[in-house]
């Protein structure tokens, strides 16, 4: 075995720990990213191939042609994120504070859908929401949708599908952060004459912020690029930017524009997260999480 001085070994240690992860990221993240950046600046067509020539015009063309789908993606995924929060918070709260010995069973129930493939789960929603299905008929009975109205192939269906598919990503981080809260803090608050509502607002909620932050990122980011829900539960009028990118890559094979769209989406999300983190005070969040 090679003998190294203690100092040397100390210096190498971080690389030893970081090495595998770093290598993975370089090979499967950094290189493809640079490659796609290169592709996004090429021109040509699928038959004769594409050549690199700094074609920044593709970016403005992509925004011009598909800003509608961009805005729709952001709108849908933001709505779904809020819905996820509204549904998941009480759920996570209940599991963390009240579920007692059923805690593990309930957590298992949240994770259970993951045992079935994502596409299959969404296809089964097609059946649930179909025009002659039970749900649509009951809603028709109570007059919530018109006589020839439908659920499937609407905006409602797409947002509902996204909300359903991403709910666990919101519920689990929320649960973790709620579970960690020291109950004595809430007790102390009530001892100091805070009402239960005030204690919740001033103690529980701030301490759950890291979970809210993580949960909403885990929901919003993949939802933004999602195309399965819009493809299976929507119509062209509900298509999101993921559908456009998928079609551009696989069918039309306009690789440059598809790559440009992906980069635009990525920068959109990065800026969005930056603003969001600043609003919530990310520094405090990471500290709180530790």
């Amino acid at each position: 075995m090679l003998r190294l001085s203690l100092r040397r070994r100390r210096a190498l240690l971080p690389w030893l720990f970081l090495g595998p992860g770093l290598l993975w990221l370089v090979i499967f993240f950094a290189i493809p990213l640079v490659n796609q950046l290169n592709v996004s600046l090429q021109t040509g067509d699928p038959e004769t191939g594409y050549t690199f020539n700094w074609a920044f015009g593709t970016y403005s063309e992509a925004i011009g042609d598909y800003h509608e789908q961009f805005l729709r993606s952001i709108g849908y995924s933001a709505t779904a994120t809020v819905l996820c929060f509204v549904i998941a918070f009480p759920l996570a709260y209940f599991i963390a504070f009240k579920a007692g010995r059923y805690k593990n069973v309930m957590l298992l129930l949240i994770v259970l859908p993951f045992f079935v493939s994502y596409v299959l789960r969404t296809v089964s929603w097609q059946l649930i929401l179909s025009d002659n299905g039970w749900v649509a008929e009951r809603l028709r009975d109570v007059g919530l949708i018109g006589e020839d109205g439908r659920l499937l192939a609407t905006r409602t269906a797409v947002i509902a599908g996204i909300t359903y598919n991403f709910l666990p990503f919101m519920a689990l981080p929320l649960y973790v952060s709620l579970e960690k809260i020291d109950r004595r803090l809430i007790e102390a608050a009530t001892d100091l004459y805070a009402s239960r509502a005030t204690a919740f607002r001033k103690v529980t909620l701030p301490l759950a912020l890291p979970g809210i932050f993580a949960g909403s990122l885990l929901t919003f980011i993949p939802a933004c690029g999602d195309f399965i829900n819009a493809a299976l539960l929507g119509t062209p009028r509900q298509y999101m930017i993921g559908n456009v990118i998928q079609n551009k890559f696989l069918v039309i094979q306009d690789y440059p524009e598809a790559a440009a769209l992906s980069f635009i989406l990525m920068s959109f999300i990065l800026v969005g997260i930056g603003l969001y983190a600043r609003a919530l005070g990310a520094r405090n969040l990471t500290e709180a999480a530790i």
Binding site: L41, A55, P236, D254
Partner: protein
């Protein structure tokens, strides 16, 4: 498409890219980026090479060995493959890995461009994609000495615009594009393409997202010979589809996936493939398929050998086998599409008259007379059509 538009489009791209280029202050990066550039291909050269290769093609008889056949899902009676192995020896690796012409092309494009084998000895591609492979020289010519049964090809398919002498391709199966509908919901038989645009079915109609199918059908509605249509006529048809779509006539644009909507009663009418409806009818006899009185688009899927093919003799033996009327009859009875092999119907008349008399598998003559193959478009026109349609379908 006029020369002027072509010119203008070209300059627009060029201008934009140049404007972008001047603003760049990065150094060092260009070299790395440029290293991953694409490959230029020349179709003129490919044409010459094709001709030479076709003239001198000779695939000597060898052992069949282990070879590979790539096809679409549910497009082969596997018993026929077993019988083939038994009869000719060797072992065919049968892959059902072609789900979409373009997707499949994307997967093997780089090997084709670099003249490397794609690891498959037979692929099955629809007309427009087969045409693309032929014009770029990505095909191996067929040695007709090994395929004597090729003489059994039906008359109207013996020649096609991209391969007039069938030197590289042989039709595998064809299908008509017509109306698939639920007669209980429509209350009447549908006979005309105009029915797809009937406001009575508003929001309960699906259309194909593939413009060769959908725009072609709309052209037939307007009395235009879709096989000879030019890009302006096609763009006009796409505009018509766009207008109806904006008015909410179509529920979705689909590939094969309209079948679920039709079976579940989410839609009343679909632009549909004949073969699909045969499958659906066995579950629900109210589902019907009809040929349009204005005529129908037909797609042909073609057998071909990719360039640099490793087992040409095995592939050609399979071609010959599939063109044996006995085998073709069994295949037609299993896949329910239209067979390009003469004599298959006569054989089925004896063994399985129900199938031989099914108008969806053996179309009546008055319908077959009005079948239209896809038009032969230049690559630029094809792209323009695809992009125009993509705008309509929202992707």
């Amino acid at each position: 498409m006029t020369d002027f538009e072509e010119f203008e489009r070209f300059t627009r791209r060029r201008l934009l890219s140049r404007a972008g280029g001047t603003g760049v202050a990065l150094t060092g990066l260009p070299a790395i980026l440029a290293a991953c550039g694409g490959v230029e291909g020349s179709q003129e050269k490919a044409k010459e090479q094709n001709k030479e290769k076709a003239a001198s093609v000779n695939h000597p008889k060898t052992e069949i060995g282990n070879w590979t056949f790539s096809n679409w899902p549910l497009y082969m009676d596997k018993k026929l493959l077993k019988q083939f192995d038994k009869q000719f020896g060797g072992k065919v690796k049968y892959l059902e890995d072609i789900n979409d012409n373009f997707e499949f092309f994307g997967k093997v494009r780089q090997q084709l461009e670099q003249s490397k084998p794609i690891g498959r000895d037979i692929v099955v591609l629809t007309d427009y994609m087969a045409a693309r492979w032929v014009r770029n020289g990505w095909v191996e010519p067929i040695d007709k000495k090994n395929v004597p049964n090729a003489k059994n090809i039906v008359g109207n398919l013996a020649s096609i615009n991209y391969d007039p002498k069938r030197e590289y391709t042989l039709p595998y199966q064809s299908g008509a594009i017509g109306a698939g509908y639920n007669i209980k919901a429509t209350g009447r038989e549908l006979k005309s393409i105009k029915d797809l645009f009937d406001p009575k079915f508003k929001g309960r109609v699906t259309m194909f997202s593939e413009p060769y199918d959908s725009a072609g059908t709309v052209l037939l509605m307007d009395g235009i010979d879709a096989s000879k249509a030019n890009i302006d006529q096609i763009l006009g048809a796409i505009e018509k589809i766009d207008k109806a779509n904006r008015e909410g006539q179509f529920r979705r644009f689909t590939g094969n996936d309209y079948t679920t909507d039709l079976a579940k009663g989410n839609i009343d009418v679909a632009l549909a493939y004949s073969g699909d409806l045969i499958q659906l009818q066995s579950d629900d006899p109210n589902l019907r398929f009809s040929y349009f009185e204005e005529g129908n688009m037909v797609f042909n899927d073609n057998l071909l050998m990719p360039a640099e093919v490793e087992h040409p003799y095995a592939a050609e033996t399979m071609f010959n086998y599939l063109y044996d009327p006995e085998v073709a009859a069994k295949l037609a009875a299993w896949v329910n599409y239209i067979s390009p092999v003469k004599g298959a119907k006569e054989i089925l008349q004896k063994s399985d008259p129900k199938i031989a008399n099914n108008p969806l598998i053996f179309p009546p003559e008055e319908a077959a007379a009005k079948f239209h193959a896809y038009p032969a478009l230049s690559p630029a026109d094809e792209r323009e059509m695809q992009e125009a349609m993509a705008k309509v379908t929202g992707a």
